[in-house]
Structures are given as C-alpha cells and as structure tokens.
C-alpha cells in the first residue's frame, strides 16, 4: 500500500449526495478477477453516454479538473455494496483523497486499506470547498495527514479526525494483515476456549 503523508493537488467537485458504490463502479466491471484497470469504469454511467462517448458536463470530463487527486463529494458517499472495486476504481483513476460530510462504513474501511484517504469535514466546509474549486479550478488544496489538516491557498485551515491506528497505517503504508498475523498466539488461545462458554 502506498503511504500517505501529504498531498497538494487540485480537487474535483462532485456535487452529489448518496453516491453509492454502484455509481462509483457498476457491477458490470466486477466480473474481473484482478484489481487492475478499474479506473476506466469509474462513474461510468454518469461519465459516459450509452455509446461510450464522454458526457461533457460531468466534472471528470471537464479539462479544468484533469489531474485532480482530490474528490469532493456530498454526504453518504460510498453507500451500498461492499465492493472494494469502488476504491480500486478511484485509486486507479488517480484519486488519493475523498472529502465528504460523511462516508458509508464499509467504503470508509476499504479506503483505508488501499491508501485512499477519506476525510470527513462538516457540510458547510464541503459547500465552501465546492464553491471555491468551481470558481477557481486551479485551487490547490494541501492535505497533511500528520497534522490532520486541509489547508486552503489563503491559509485557512480545517482539521479532520482519524483513528490514530488507521493514521499510523496510512503514514507507514501498511495494512492490517501484518498486525493480525502477529496476534497468532492470542488467536490460538481464543480458539482453544470451549464454544458455549
């Protein structure tokens, strides 16, 4: 997993609520047996016309948001299916961070396991960021995971919360598996207990 420390990037405003994982990556892309190349299916129903041509109005098709590594979305982002493919699609496309007033639980967990930083900010801050990057798409946001802050070009800073353990994993680029494997002794002891205790 790629470590996450700081990120300075432009941001794409996705002014939509309840973006479910079917919107992020439709089921037709789930027939793969590998993780690679999911980015091509990212938001495909809202990104492409039925004939495969890009919809010019969709934010990711606008020239000014090319290369943005931060996505700013409405509340309840990533709801629905547990498909980790949604996170793989976002990271494969080039996103490293999603900012939203709230994430669905499974999506939030899946993000952390793939080095995609989910940042929860209050709705009014998200509204402000939308206005800002819509007005000036070149706006650079600076994200610092260590200090848990998002800094705007004018110096305005917004703090976000993150579980300290998850923060450490992201900073070091490690997932849960090594930690879980180190608990072998405790797991074996647990398994040795009688079942209907």
């Amino acid at each position: 997993m790629q470590p996450f420390t700081t990120l300075t990037s432009t941001a794409a405003p996705l002014r939509m609520e309840n973006v479910d994982t079917d919107q992020i990556i439709p089921a037709q892309y789930l027939t793969a047996v590998t993780k690679e190349g999911m980015g091509k299916g990212l938001f495909s129903w809202i990104r492409y016309n039925p004939d495969g041509t890009p919809k010019p109005d969709f934010v990711l098709n606008k020239p000014e948001y090319q290369g943005a590594q931060i996505l700013i979305a409405g509340r309840n982002f990533g709801s629905g299916s547990s498909r980790e493919h949604a996170v793989w699609a976002l990271t494969d496309y080039g996103f490293r961070c999603v900012i939203s007033p709230g994430f669905a639980d499974i999506f939030y967990n899946n993000s952390l396991k793939n080095g995609l930083l989910p940042i929860v900010l209050p709705e009014e801050v998200v509204n402000l960021l939308w206005d800002l990057v819509e007005e000036e798409p070149k706006t650079l946001l600076h994200i610092d995971l260590r200090s848990q802050t998002v800094t705007l070009p004018d110096g305005q800073q917004h703090s976000f919360a993150i579980d300290p353990f998850r923060k450490l994993c992201l900073l070091e680029g490690v997932d849960d598996l090594g930690y879980l494997l180190s608990k072998e002794e405790a797991i074996a002891a647990y398994e040795a207990r009688p079942r209907w205790a």
Partner: protein, 467 residues
C-alpha cells in the same frame, strides 16, 4: 450497567485489544462467493499464506451466474472465469463449495441460514454488504471488502472499531398486507439511507417478535440500506426452531448447551443504547420507493414529495436528481404508476415464505400483457420446495418465468438486466441508478405488492386484492 445484545456478542469475540488500536475480532463463519473473493485469494498467494480455518469458510456462487439452466460452456466468459476461479481456489485451499452443479447452491445469504451455519451469537462476515441478513438470528454479521476477506481467510480475525448501538422498536400489530419489507422500508424512509452509519441496529418490540425467520431476515438484510453495517434481532423460540436439525446445527447434548447460551443473548433491561427509534406497526402501510436510494419511499397511499417541502438543500438536490432519473413528478401518487418488469427474488425476498405469499396473489390470474415477470428462488432448496408445493406452476401459468437460484436482476452483473427507462417492481433491496440495468428504474416493494403490480400492470395497493 447491563449489556445490549450487540455488546454481548462483540465482547465474546474480542481476541485482543491493544491500547490505541481497534479490537481483534474473531470470526465464527466466513461466507465467500465468486465476485469479491478472487483478489483476496491472490493476496494470500502473494504473501504465501494459507486459509487458517477452511472448516469455518463456506463458498457458493450467486452474483455473476446466469439463472437459466445452461451449461457453463455457454456462459458469458467472464462469469465462467469467476466460477472456475472460485472452484480452483476452494480446491487449492480446502474450502467447502456449494457449486452451481450441486443441490445446495444459492444466494449466499439464503444458503448460510438454510445449512444451519448461521447461528445465534456468532460473528459472520462475507464480502457482500447484505451479510447483515444473518443478524436475524442474533448473530453479529456484516459485509466486508476484499482486503478484509483476505484478512479473515489468513487469520480468521478482523481489526474492528466498536460501532455504536441503535434500538429500533416496532410495537403493535401489522395490518393486513403489511409485511417485513414494509417495516424496513418505513424505517429507512424515516431514518434516511445514511442515518445508520456507525451504528449496529437492534430491531425489537412486539411486532418484531411475531415475525418468522424469513421476515426477520428481510428486515436485517436491509439494515445496510439504512447505513448500518449490521442489524440484529435477539434469538428466541422461533430462532431455535428454525436452526434445529439443520446440517451444521449443534446436535444432541451440544444442542442443549448451545440453546442455554443462546437464551442469554438478549439486551439486559438496564442496558443503554446510543440512539433509539420507535415505530407503531399499526400505522404502517405497504411501502413503495420512488427515488434512487432506499430512503426515498412512501406508503402506497402517499405521494412523492415536492422539493420545496424539504428544508435540507442536500435532500432537495438528491430528490430533484432522483426524480429526473426516475421520470417521475413531484406530488405524484405512486399508486397507478405503470410497471414494465416485475422481479421477485434477491437475498431480501426469495425465500419460500416470500414465494408462497406472492403465489397466493397471482394464483389463477395472469400477469398484465405488457409485463415481463421473473421469479428467482434464493436457493436450489427453495426452488425444490416451491416445486414440491406447485408454486412454480402457479407462477408459470400466470405468465412469469421460473428461474434457477441466484442474485439475478438485483444487481445487473449477470444476464438478467432491466432495459433503460423500464420501470421494475422489484422485491430486491436497492433502487440505485442503474442497479438493475443501465437506465433501469427500480420501485422497491414487498413480494405481495410486486405480485399485485404484475397482475395489474401498475403499482396498486395489494390490500384491495386480499379480500
């Protein structure tokens, strides 16, 4: 202070809890299927790891498979590849697989309970968000991503932050024609599609206690549509009766000990929930969704809200975009809305009880000429039972297609897809944009409401057909 049902099950599964780290939670049963497992097995191979407890891991095929009876050689190649990959992985790692060519296969959340794998007090996970279904037995069951599937395969454990608890109490008597599906759609309409994020629901109250296991599964199944990863119902005699005698259920003396323990799995009287929500069962009506998240639903006698009635700008934006997609108008009643397709199936409503109720509505009638209707049993066992009872004949004679077991048109990743612009009266769980096919418009409802819609060719109040 006493403990909630959730806290009892959680506490019984904490293997380790380091300061400043999430809990290491032991998993009693791990269900896998063809779509979210291949990359997890690849992660195991990359790191040279084995499956720690193949005896606690069970696989079946449901999402990508066709539900017509055709040889795998004739399947779309990607579905065949996923099925063959799962076969190979189960063989290589020694995992029990209920294959499409065997007698047990079906939707993972239908098969687990049927086989007696799902038991009270267990922790159960699967790379599928509707794993919440198994909470109907008083188990803590939730969906996980593929990385977590790999973690459970390798260690039988997950790192989990303890969620908060929310009591949802439904007291009173359900009216005629009002079902478990209507209870859960009403809960989500009230609490919002994201309202349960960070919580585990416990459904309680006299109306819940009276429900069958199939109905309890329908409710817990859609906990995730209300934002909660898990929903639970305390086990009782109804639960024990269901589990007893199933292939993986405890037997003999072991059964007695198990039941004695399961009886302790109730929320203590002095336990405190982080949040509470109450509903009066007597006030509920058959529900229908009009929008593109499961919280956008109304009673059948109701109408679609006007955007200006909503105070929250985000909700307003969400409603406007949903109605544009759905081709519906603010203020419109849902009763009378024409439907093109009727889908009876999915992990929410494909059990034998669902099929019996739907069959009772269509018996001796024909579905409307313009309606394409399919009935997809949740498992091979449900299918066999339905055929033994003659339900297949009732559906076929009414004009429905009678299919093999699988997820089918719930999620548009197999051959069963709804066309663009088509209205689908669906017993499934998600009305997301494109969920049942690109451009398809889902109207979620109960099996009897869907059956009634098939006969009339439009959304109707099923209660008018129950006299």
């Amino acid at each position: 202070m006493g403990k909630t049902l959730f806290e009892k099950v959680w506490d019984a599964h904490v293997v380790a809890q380091d300061e400043g780290a999430p809990a290491v939670l032991y998993i009693d049963a791990h269900l896998i299927h063809e779509v979210t497992s291949p990359q997890a097995f690849a992660m195991l191979r990359e790191r040279g790891l084995k499956v720690r407890r193949p005896d606690k891991t069970f696989a079946t095929m449901d999402h990508a498979i066709p539900t017509r009876n055709v040889d795998i050689e004739l399947w779309p190649s990607d579905a065949a590849t996923q099925v063959r990959t799962l076969r190979q992985n189960c063989k290589d790692f020694g995992i029990t697989l209920w294959d499409v060519d065997g007698p047990v296969q079906g939707i993972v959340h239908v098969v687990g309970p049927e086989m007696g794998i799902t038991q009270p007090g267990m922790t159960i996970v699967c790379g599928d968000s509707h794993t919440s279904t198994h909470g109907a037995f008083g188990a803590l069951a939730f969906g996980i991503g593929t990385s977590e599937v790999a973690h459970v395969l390798a260690t039988q454990c997950l790192l989990q932050k303890k969620p908060k608890t929310m009591a949802i109490t439904v007291d009173g008597e359900l009216g005629k024609g009002v079902t478990a599906k209507d209870i859960i759609l009403a809960i989500i309409a009230k609490n919002g599609a994201g309202g349960g994020a960070g919580y585990v629901f416990e459904y309680r109250g006299s109306a819940i206690r009276k429900l069958s296991m199939a109905s309890r599964m329908t409710i817990c199944n859609m906990s995730i549509e209300g934002g909660a990863r898990a929903g639970m119902i305390a086990p009782d005699e109804t639960t024990f009766e269901y589990v007893k005698g199933r292939p993986y259920a405890p037997k003999g003396e072991e059964w007695e000990r198990a039941v004695a323990y399961w009886r302790t799995l109730v929320t203590d009287e002095d336990a405190v929930f982080d949040r509470e929500l109450k509903l009066d069962a007597g006030e509920l009506q058959p529900m229908v969704t009009y929008g593109t998240n499961p919280g956008q639903g109304v009673p059948i006698t109701g109408r679609i809200p006007y955007p200006e009635e909503l105070e929250d700008p985000a909700e307003r934006r969400s409603l406007i975009s949903a109605l544009e997609y759905m081709g519906l108008k603010p203020g419109q009643p849902m009763e009378g809305q024409p439907v093109d397709i009727v889908f009876i199936g999915s992990c929410t409503n494909s059990r034998i009880e669902d099929l019996r109720e739907a069959a009772a509505i269509v018996k001796g009638k024909k579905i409307a000429d313009h309606v394409w209707g399919i009935v997809v049993p949740g498992s091979k066992s449900v299918k066999a039972q339905a055929e033994a009872e003659g339900l297949d004949r009732i559906f076929i004679e009414a004009g429905f297609e009678w299919r093999g077991a699988g997820c089918s048109m719930c999620l548009a990743m197999n051959e069963d897809k709804a066309g663009a612009g088509k209205y689908v009266a669906s017993t499934s769980n998600r009305n997301f944009q494109g969920r049942q096919g690109p451009g398809a418009r889902s109207l979620l409802m109960s099996p009897i409401m869907a059956a009634a819609a098939a006969v009339k060719g439009r959304v109707v109040d099923v209660r008018e057909m129950l006299n």
